[in-house]
């Protein structure tokens, strides 16, 4: 069988399903009674089983099957979810992950899992029913739900739960004026009203069709809400051109295919038709056929994506980069030619390619969720290993970052999280003694701001002790005592990022040995980002990482030194200035200037880069003030050329570690300009 071509898809999807299992299991741990979660896990496991059996991975299919049996038992209330059962299921998922990894790396996906299988079987047999009987029960259960065709399993559970929580479930029939021109707009307004008062569970016809105006005048919506039917009706009637609103409460005990349709004639019906000239036409489409009903709008939205191999996106990006270079060249030519038609066309092209650039960059954006989603499991495990109680909150997982950054950011975050869990959060006893709640909280937060993405890791643990850090740093020879005395709190905290530092009194295998945090810092800086620490003793610590949105196209200031052109990233430039010879002062053989009240050391790029030059008699110097963290330096150049968007290119594998050069770019005239690495220039 020629299955190779499906292998990639299989691996991708398996990973997704396993991730879904992991997430849902964690949810389940919080709400063990929630059947809808079990259903989700069951579905993922079932798909996985089917896929792996088709692909011929027997072990994978076997283990999934056993796991499915247990899940099924829970689903049918023959087993109660206990932490022990969950542990075994987690273990099974771990094994599955290993197998999928083995397949992905070219292995056969075989693994001895008899122990786990035995455990699963044991759990399952804790119930008198044998596995064959179970599958029969499962089959009948499916049959039953199949009858209730108007709402699928998922919707039913949501509706039932809402009712249990005291929400009212209503089916609302809404009619628009026959001559309504902007039906989609009205639908939108109605939905907006509905979303304010409750949650829309289902719409008939589905939301997509409604948005595309594929309906006559009437549509119906099922919502859960705490408002009274009268209020709901009143609010909907406020939307202009709505002429009919019928709000019917839904009863679930009689829920079956007929029941839903029957409710149309329920006694509780509240009907109003304020504009009597219209209703005659609306009756024809009153209750749409139940078979047309589909899943919720939310699920439909996720279908509108396609999978594209990342390689293709990279190729697209490379091609576009070449286009950007040619664009630069064209702009220059048109400037020289001074032909108005040419200039106009080139300007138009620049604008379009600018838009194109945004779109392509956006396509490469990936939600940080892809990195974050493995953390809940990790934290759970860590907390167990360390006997701590930890609640991980993830905020802003939908924040997007360039793929290249995403690929690199995982490990540093793992390190920081481990650090927070291990060194930050105290043991439950300690926390109780301090008057805190036993459960520590770690917040992982991502958000956009300007051209940067921030990722913060905040814990409410012990915080960093300034004295301890300074003492340690001095004893390790990282700073001198005099220097340490003048440190701000932030500077002191940042010492823990320097190499050869570890404050934990006891080295654990979770984090520690002090090799970690400086690696974190280096990785983040190599991505063009920064990391800072804020902390309050006994209240907690925040690690804040600032990352650029994208790595491939950056804004630079082009400067000239003799005949050579260099590019300085705008992100590190504070400002540019022209200084007179007389303003340059000497301090310890170091030329400095007084810049807005601060003493800033000067670096002559001409000397630094050994540019062959003739000594000039110029009294004035062009200086670019750059920064790294709180420190500043002035770079002396011959002249400024201007600001430009450039494509960042590497110098290749032959020239690595060139001092103070982070890469190169190709200018409009086809020449290569080197990009100055300001971080390397400031110590």
């Amino acid at each position: 069988m020629e299955l190779n071509q499906y292998l990639e898809v299989f691996i991708e999807e398996s990973k997704e399903h396993l991730q879904a299992c992991n997430e849902q299991l964690l949810e389940l741990e919080k709400n063990p009674q929630d059947l809808s979660i079990i259903n989700e896990i069951f579905r993922s496991a079932h798909t996985l089983k089917g896929m792996s059996a088709t692909m011929g991975y027997e072990d994978l299919a076997g283990l999934t099957h056993q796991m499915e049996n247990v899940l099924d038992a829970i689903r049918n209330n023959r087993l109660v979810t206990t932490p022990e059962i969950l542990d075994v299921i987690f273990m099974a998922v771990d094994h599955l992950e290993e197998m999928v990894h083995s397949i992905a790396s070219g292995g056969d996906g075989k693994k001895d899992v008899t122990e786990t299988v035995e455990k699963l079987k044991a759990i399952e047999k804790g119930e008198p029913l044998s596995s064959t009987a179970e599958s029969e029960v499962a089959a009948t259960a499916v049959m039953e739900t199949a009858k209730q065709s108007t709402y699928d399993e998922f919707e039913l559970t949501v509706l039932k739960q809402s009712m249990e929580q005291g929400f009212g479930v209503y089916e609302i029939e809404i009619g628009l004026r026959q001559d309504c021109l902007l039906k989609a707009a009205r639908v939108y307004m109605v939905f907006e009203v509905l979303e304010k008062i409750g949650e829309v569970i289902k719409a008939t016809p589905p939301v997509e069709q409604l948005e595309e105006e594929q309906f006559d005048e009437d549509f119906s919506v099922t919502i859960v809400s705490k408002e009274s039917p009268e209020d709901i009706k009143g609010k909907i009637m406020k939307v202009s051109e709505v002429v009919k609103t019928i709000v019917r409460p839904l009863e679930f005990d009689e829920q079956n295919a007929e029941a839903v349709l029957d409710t149309a004639h329920n006694e509780n019906e509240i009907e109003s038709e304020p504009k009597p000239e219209v209703p005659a036409q609306s009756t024809g489409t009153d209750v749409p056929a139940a078979t047309e009903k589909k899943s919720t709008g939310k699920q439909q939205g996720s279908n509108k994506t396609i999978r594209v191999n990342i390689e293709r996106l990279d190729i697209l990006m490379n091609l576009f980069e070449e286009l950007v270079i040619d664009r630069g060249r064209l702009e220059q030519i048109s400037k020289d030619m001074e032909n108005s038609e040419l200039t106009e066309t080139v300007e138009r092209m620049s604008r379009i390619s600018g838009d194109l650039q945004n779109i392509i960059l956006n396509m490469r954006m990936v939600q940080v969720e892809t990195v974050f989603n493995r953390f809940p499991r990790m934290i759970r495990q860590l907390a167990r290993d360390l006997n701590k109680k930890i609640n991980l909150e993830i905020v802003g997982a939908e924040t997007e970052l360039d793929r290249t950054v995403i690929d690199e950011i995982g490990d540093p975050l793992v390190h920081l999280l481990r650090n927070s869990v291990d060194h930050g959060i105290e043991s439950p006893e300690e926390r109780r003694a301090k008057g805190k709640s036993e459960e520590g909280t770690v917040v992982l937060r991502a958000f956009h701001s300007g051209n940067h993405v921030f990722i913060e890791i905040e814990d409410d643990g012990a915080g960093i002790s300034r004295e301890k850090v300074l003492k340690k740093a001095i004893s390790k020879g990282i700073v001198t005592e005099q220097a340490a005395a003048g440190f701000t709190d932030k500077q002191a905290y940042e010492l823990i990022l320097s190499s050869g530092f570890s404050t934990a009194e006891k080295i654990s295998d979770i984090s520690g040995r002090g090799v970690g945090l400086d690696v974190v810092k280096n990785t983040i800086e190599s991505l063009g980002g920064t990391i800072s620490i804020d902390s309050k003793e006994n209240e907690g610590t925040i690690f804040s990482i600032q990352l650029p949105l994208t790595l491939s196209i950056i804004s630079v200031m082009l400067v000239e030194i003799q005949k050579e052109k260099f590019a300085i990233p705008l992100s590190s430039i504070i400002e540019t200035a022209i200084i007179k010879d007389s303003e340059i002062m000497n301090a310890h053989n170091q030329k400095v200037i007084d810049f807005r009240g601060k003493v800033v050391p000067l670096l002559f790029l001409k000397d630094l880069f050994e540019v062959p030059s003739v000594p000039s008699e110029d009294d004035f110097h062009s200086v670019i003030i750059v920064r790294k963290g709180d420190k500043m330096a002035g770079l002396i150049v011959d002249s400024f050329i201007g600001q430009q968007e450039v494509v960042l290119k590497s110098l290749g594998n032959y020239l690595t570690n060139v001092f103070a050069i982070s890469g190169a770019t190709i200018l409009g005239d086809g020449q290569v300009a080197l990009i100055v690495d300001c971080n390397a220039l400031i110590k």
């Binding site: 050579e564 032959y654 020239l655 570690n657 060139v658 001092f659």
Partner: protein, 151 residues
């Protein structure tokens, strides 16, 4: 040497200081005329800088300097041979390159044990063809040790 086992070897012939050298075609990506070179500071003297090769920033090695020969200005006939070894891609600046020939494997001999030959240590073998002496160079060695001397 291993070359003996390979039947016919297709090579690019280039000139350097009056002598003829050869690199296997399989390692050559293209031959270019000299273009604008951007100097890269703090690198080995034989690294002349980088150039824009159709959108790829390519480092350039002046083979004259690399072989310890006297440096010369570039002329109309100066060529850049773009070679690719493992994951590295660099351009070699040579005096001229204009020939592709097949060397029968029987013609390839191990490098002569003569001291003082330029390009010593970079030679894979020598081919004697109709009184043409072709020196086969070892690209891996030429591109090697760039890192340790880079700064």
């Amino acid at each position: 040497m291993t070359e003996v086992l390979i039947p016919d070897l297709k090579v690019i012939v280039f000139q350097l200081n009056g002598k003829e050298y050869a690199v296997p075609v399989s390692q050559v990506k293209s031959i270019e005329k000299i273009m604008h070179i951007t100097r890269v500071p703090h690198t080995n003297p034989f690294v002349k800088g980088v150039m824009n090769l159709r959108g790829v920033v390519t480092p350039l090695i002046d083979l004259r300097v690399r072989f310890g020969l006297e440096e010369q200005g570039y002329t109309e006939s100066t060529r850049v041979i773009i070679v690719s070894v493992e994951d590295k891609e660099v351009g070699l600046i040579v005096d001229g390159a204009n020939d592709v020939i097949d060397i029968p494997s029987s013609m390839v001999e191990p490098p002569p044990e003569i001291v003082g030959l330029s390009a010593e240590g970079f030679i894979n073998g020598v081919a004697n063809l109709d009184k043409r002496l072709l020196i086969l160079i070892d690209l891996a060695k030429i591109l090697d040790n760039a890192d340790e001397n880079a700064l």
